[in-house]
């Protein structure tokens, strides 16, 4: 089956877009102009201005001399490059493969898409009507090759449909400039009197290659279908994708939920058959007014449980604004991983960290509150208390070293040690009393010191002498003295509470 391509050419993309934003200009001649070497040069003119002989490339001052009532505005090149891209993204509704054809065209690969609209003519009409409704003037043609479709859209008749394998016949009478070639080569062709493609096709290939180079031959082959032209879709193809279009625009949450559930069931079945699971998925809603609303989910472990995935989406469904209604739903599994088949359990076990229920719960928490709020810690080979544990990357990660419990450690550790006033008798003895938050604590029992050196290969500073102390009420604290007693610039801190 031959491939089919549609080329769309926006005759006046910039002015059409400008008119959409400023409907008041409808009956006036206006142009967009940009600075070029100290002059204002027209970059786009609307149809009324063109009918007065004003076209792009003219200097603005000249144009205003011709037509004093001409209105002019600043061109915004960055905005227009994004505009074409967003129109391309909108065209995803007609085919999954859309490519940009700078500066004012689109290429759709519509192989196997047209029958959804009845036939190819109806397909082209549907696209053209939608663009006309929006206010864009377009021309579009369909052919087996990108080159042929492009040539016809620029030099042929509007809405031409070239039947499969007939592109040669359709191109015969067109000028060589329809082949998308360098102006330099074009000029040479004209000098030689080759003014139609039919003249070129009749010539021997070796002569053409010698005179015009391989690039020219390639363009000719692209147009005639002797060589496949690669298409660069604006959205890379997603193999795990499900789409659901609705007869009437969907407005209600229930409707969206049903659509999501259907799509998820279909996708999960496919994933299950491939032995894969979702890690990242997005649910896209195309609205009647042309806006696109999208929600994403991620999972911590590949999953093809549609019930679980639905719960993850459910948390975000409220953020979808249906506006005037949603006409197309699309579910993409953008990141898919192999899944480890879970053996059915004979008896119910209360699971540990690899329990499915726990995983699904963590997924829900992650999607609601972000991944940063979930922490799991493993031991680290450091004595320095703040560094004695480290965050672990995943739930499955096994701990390498073991937890130490040979030394007393407080159950609550202060985020940063707080300075306290202390009365301590002689070096290396625990303090007799200390003042913390304006409360005086008399120390009855104490253990220590436990000296922890600062790791010089990480940071510099004083060592700490830790004491576990118990005050007269039986409350147990973790205190330390930073620095040597003899240095005179030591300081006492409180660092934690024992249970």
């Amino acid at each position: 089956m031959p491939k089919r391509f549609v080329a769309i050419w926006f005759l006046s993309l910039k002015t059409d877009w400008f008119l959409l934003r400023n409907p008041g200009l409808k009956d006036k001649a206006f142009v967009l102009a940009a600075h070029d070497h100290g002059r204002m040069v027209i970059t786009a003119a609307n149809s009324i201005a063109r009918s007065q002989g004003i076209d792009k490339g003219m200097v603005l001052a000249d144009a205003r001399a011709i037509l004093p009532s001409l209105e002019y505005f600043d061109d915004q090149p960055q905005k227009f490059s994004r505009l074409l891209e967003s129109i391309g993204a909108w065209c995803i509704r007609y085919t999954p493969m859309v490519a940009l054809d700078m500066p004012d065209g689109l290429i759709l690969e519509s192989t196997g898409c047209a029958h959804l609209w009845g036939n190819e003519a109806a397909y082209l009409d549907a696209i053209a009507n939608r663009f006309n409704q929006f206010g864009y003037h377009v021309r579009l043609c369909m052919a087996d090759t990108i080159g042929a479709a492009w040539a016809l859209v620029h030099f042929g008749e509007n809405k031409t449909i070239v039947q499969p394998h007939e592109q040669l016949k359709a191109l015969m009478n067109l000028s060589p400039s329809a082949l998308r070639i360098d102006p330099e080569i074009l000029e040479r062709l004209h000098k030689l009197g080759l003014r139609k493609i039919s003249h070129i096709v009749a010539m021997p290939r070796s002569a053409l290659r010698r005179r015009f180079g391989t690039g020219f031959i390639r363009q000719l082959d692209f147009a005639l279908g002797n060589e496949n032209e690669p298409i660069l879709p604006i959205l890379p193809p997603v193999p795990f994708q499900e789409r659901l279009s609705s007869l009437d625009p969907i407005l209600t949450l229930t409707g969206i939920e049903i659509a999501l559930q259907t799509l998820l069931d279909n996708l999960c079945l496919r994933l299950y058959q491939c032995g894969k699971g979702l890690r990242f998925a997005s649910f896209t809603c195309f609205r009647v007014d042309g806006k696109v609303v999208k929600i994403d989910i991620g999972t911590n472990r590949a999953s093809h449980q549609s019930k679980h995935l639905f719960k993850l989406f459910e948390l975000k469904l409220n953020s979808i604004e249906p506006g005037l209604g949603i006409e197309l739903f699309q579910l993409d599994g953008s990141r898919v991983e192999e899944i480890n088949p879970v053996q059915e359990k004979i008896w119910e076990t209360t699971g540990g960290l690899d329990d499915d229920g726990v995983f699904e719960l963590i997924d829900r928490v992650t999607n609601k509150m972000g991944a940063n709020c979930i922490q799991r810690f493993g031991p680290d080979e450091h004595y320095w208390p703040e560094r004695s544990f480290k965050p672990m990357d995943s739930l499955q990660e096994k701990i390498v070293s073991s937890w130490k419990s040979d030394r007393p450690r407080p159950v609550h550790l202060l985020a940063r040690p707080e300075p306290i006033q202390v009365m301590a008798p002689i070096p290396d003895y625990p303090p007799m009393l200390f003042r913390y938050k304006n409360k005086l604590h008399k120390i009855k029992k104490a253990d220590g010191p436990e000296r922890i050196e600062r790791e010089w290969w990480i940071e510099e500073g004083d060592h700490r002498d830790y004491y576990q102390v118990e005050d007269e009420d039986g409350i147990r604290y973790w205190l330390f003295r930073s620095g040597h007693y003899s240095d005179k610039n030591y300081q006492w801190f409180i660092h934690g509470f024992f249970a």
Binding site: T350, G351, G352, L353, D355, D356, G357, V358, E360, L361, I362, R364, V365, K368, M369, C373, I374, Q375, R376, F377, G378, P379, P385, S388, F389, M392, L395, I399, W403, K404, S405, P408, R409, P410, V411, H412, L413, L414, A415, K444, K445, A446, D447, Q468, V469, E470, E472, D473, G474, I475, R476, G496, F497, F498, A499
Partner: protein, 247 residues
Amino acid sequence: MGYVNTERADILARLQKEILPLQGYKPMPGGNRTNIDLGAANAAFPNACFPLGAVHEFQSQSPEQTAASAGFVAAMISHLAKNGEAIFWISRVRRIFPPALKSFGIEPDRVIFINAGNDNDLLWVMEEGLKCKGLAAVVGEIAEISFTASRRLQLAVEQSRVTGFLIRQHHRLIKPIASVCRWRISHLPSEFEDGMPGVGFPRWNVALEKVRNGKPGEWQMEWSEGRFNLMDMPVPAIERELNIKVG
């Protein structure tokens, strides 16, 4: 006459046992494989069995008391998570020092800490956690919780039989909530048996201020060698900070 009395007592005991399931005390499926053993203090609970699958509330008034409650809760959970089950510890800001949990019998890498941005998120995670059968326990540190929210937690627990612990630190008197037990843990001076110097095992005054269908009480407990030991010493002369009964 005595025969009649014992018969009546039997009937009463049987009727009481019938009431318990109706109030949300369901025996764990498969018998009491794992339970928290508080020694003689077990007598305070209905059926002399620590109520699992319920929400326990711990009140504290100072950071020190909160640390004591956290230690006591960790020690309780170590009985529940013997087979390596996961534990949720939810708070606004994590204060727990993970390596310390090891000394209370918990593998610290089994604990999943969740830092919630606000109280609503915290309660949502707590409720979802309590619904998840794979967890051994869910601990939430929250100051203010409404009665309705606490009812929701209790209802979540009745389905899944996960045990929930709420640690509430507040400097003022706090409103009563729907919990099966209300505890207040405070420090007691530790002691070595033969008067050795130094700080001994953690020792607490454990006040069970409220227990549904049970007898509230007060005990002195020490956590050593992986179990709770009851002290049969008199209540020490230190002045306990709160004697106000709530609810």
